[in-house]
Symmetry: C2
Subunit: 435 residues, 2 copies
């Protein structure tokens, strides 16, 4: 436990969120988890162990192993696939590795280079519903769920929107209708809709580069980072959330803060009397015909992290994306109401999104918005996506009939580090497939 | 963390292993986990929380909830079911609840009463391969793996015997051929066969009623109990095992000690270069056509507990039993070599078993033995079984063509508390079905 704070600090300092200039990155080829020997042997050599207690599980390059093995270090709850036969994903392979595109720096690059440069662990590409490309590297395997980080939020946002359509959740209601305990917190005068679209004024920093950022307090409360000796802070998500203080006004501008997803998770649980894992299994995972179970990490009292706790099997994450591309219909049934998908695709208010002040290099065009915890480009292809901070993606391009699910373990926790390069390649692929 | 030792002590004092007189037991009807409200609500009320940190997850009656939710409190590794269709378990229901039998105290009892009195969470009965009875109570659900405790050992023993048949493990070899690190431990002059049959002389007490018994040191090393402040003992299974000291001689008498199963787990991993979870998935779970994944709890460095760490879905545990009843053949294939099943059914040396000195009331007849980590009765029906300390069972009666899989959360950690009553009912059922 002695190295706890050091490890957390090292993690934070080795990361950079939204930095204008990217730090030098380790050569991806030198971070292959198998070549580095993480967790090989019984026991692994002392310097090859990846473990929770000293925080090493969340330090790059060990993350290239740990992101495919989260449950081996954290308590988790199952998202059951049900007992049915997996839905069919037809296969029609294309060799994309040599696909050439102009990267975000204006240089020529290939698809395969993009995968390497974004520290990709696994990726699957569906075009018109067929698997045209699928690849696993390092520790990734098809049946191993990979940490999805904030892709989790899009599942929670979709569930919340589904519950609203069913009438069991009222987006216009005050948050306190469902969670009276939040009365004296930042959420005391917020609506559920403001939480769903992250237009909440709350004192909470998501800056991974600042060791004092609240994101780390949040992670500790949820059991996602080891506790330093003498720790006296909140010991579960609920205890953390009720203490959040207001900063600014609600409803004015988009501000991406993970705690909103945790509050929304709490809301959907209270609205239904069911756990997030049960809701996701019943309403999405079983209906998709998933091949494998997924799981949430849980805090000390069994509460799922709806902000970033999901680990997902790649193919099943792609099924989720394909279902969204098809307006909510997949595996022979309407899983998500079309109105929910339409609402997401339409997006939130671009003027509110613009207030987040993202740098131009991220390529967020005039119509960019955030709705029901999805990123909505409103670009020429109508791309919308779910994303995790280390390069996890569910990328849906309706016009090109393209869905990409991608898991990465990028050393930098920040969109700047991987979105511009990745999106340049994804856009080029869409153009190529649309020729 | 303050209540750690108190919790462990309370646990130990509330249990009695092999006690000649059973303590007064709580009324099972008053321990229904749903009625008691464990872990209901978001968050659960403070006095309804079941959590790892204070040891409450292992205190009865909370165990009636926690045994079906181990992964929500402990790190675990998946035992993958594969991607195939589950094997068929035909159903032909019989109402067994009123089946009458004479219990171990000579009183009349019914099947349903036996289930209640042994704190049964779930049970399934197969006769001639058909499901004649299946029941879930309290927190148990068909898709939720339940802690199997020492049923785990029979999986490890079976895997070891399979590897021996394949030629990748030599039972006659010294343990140190596979684990040189055990040279200076109790296992320094033991053979693999002695480990497989638990005829090892090792200083290690399995007495749950003694708070100082090594079983608790073992559990702490494996991350299965919280660590007291300032804990400086072994922090994984391997560190614990290498320190075990010899006591008595090897090969002379059966002595049931969980550490032998942990050593055997280490051996099969070293012999194959694969984890126990991978071995079980490849060689057993996938081939059975399991409906659901299983899992092992793991220590701080990801090592499975092969002594008691498995959690299993009930129906799939029954498939395992049925496969053993059928001489290793199930789901259209030979899964375990017939020679391995025959060797288990034949049993070990009864004279060595007798040296364990079990009380008569346990009903161990003259031929009783222990082989490859199975309990072998050599009784008139040829019953052999896998068992866990809180009443978990895989009971195989070849003559009656009967297989019973049962999960319990009995408050007493000891065979005395549940085996005599359970076996009286199982025997009566065998007679009834054989009429």
């Amino acid at each position: 436990m002695k190295v706890t704070m050091a490890a957390v600090t090292a993690l934070a300092l080795s990361s950079a969120c939204l930095a204008q200039t990217a730090p030098a990155l380790p050569d991806p080829a030198g971070t292959d988890p198998k070549a580095l020997g993480w967790m090989q042997g019984f026991p692994p050599a002392a310097d090859k162990v990846v473990t929770f207690g000293n925080g090493s599980f969340y330090s790059f390059p060990r993350t290239r192993w740990s992101f495919s093995h989260m449950r081996e270090m954290l308590p988790t709850v199952n998202v059951w696939r049900g007992s049915g036969t997996p839905s069919v994903l037809p296969v029609a392979p294309k060799d994309l590795d040599k696909l050439s595109f102009t990267d975000d720096k204006g240089a020529k690059a290939s698809w395969a280079e993009m995968l390497t440069r974004t520290y990709t662990d696994s990726i699957i590409v569906l075009h018109k519903g067929k698997v045209i490309y699928e690849k696993y590297t390092g520790s990734a395997e098809p049946q191993l769920p990979h940490s999805a980080f904030s892709v989790t939020k899009s599942f929670i946002g979709t569930l919340a929107a589904m519950l609203a359509t069913e009438g069991s959740l009222d987006p216009s209601a005050p948050v306190t209708k469902y969670i009276p305990e939040l009365k004296d917190s930042a959420y005391g005068d917020a609506t559920v809709r403001q939480v769903m679209d992250m237009t909440i004024g709350v004192q909470y920093s998501e800056n991974y580069a600042d060791p004092k950022a609240e994101i780390f307090d949040y992670a500790r409360s949820g059991g996602m980072l080891p506790l330093p000796p003498g720790y006296a802070g909140p010991k579960n998500f609920y205890e953390f959330l009720v203490k959040l203080k207001k900063e600014g006004n609600h409803g004015e501008g988009f501000a991406y803060k993970t705690v909103n997803a945790e509050v929304l998770t709490w809301i959907i649980k209270r609205a239904t009397g069911k756990s997030a894992a049960a809701l996701m299994s019943e309403k999405i995972w079983q209906k998709l015909g998933a091949e494998n179970d997924a799981y949430f990490s849980v805090d000390a009292i069994g509460s799922e992290s709806g902000g970033g706790g999901l680990s997902l099997p790649l193919r099943d994450m792609a099924r989720f994306g394909e279902m969204m591309r098809l307006g909510g219909k997949f595996n022979g049934q309407q899983i998500v109401p079309t109105s929910v998908v339409d609402d997401i695709r339409k997006g939130g208010d671009p003027a509110k999104f613009a207030k987040a002040g993202y740098p131009d290099v991220l390529g967020y065009g005039a119509g960019y918005a955030y709705r029901n915890m999805w990123w909505v480009s409103n670009n020429k292809n109508g791309v919308f996506d779910a994303r995790g901070i280390h390069g996890q993606r569910v990328y849906i391009d309706p016009k090109a009939e393209l869905v990409i699910a991608k898991f990465s373990s990028h050393p930098i926790a920040g969109n700047m580090a991987n979105i511009p390069l990745t999106d340049a390649a994804f856009g080029a692929l869409a153009d190529y497939l649309s020729k």
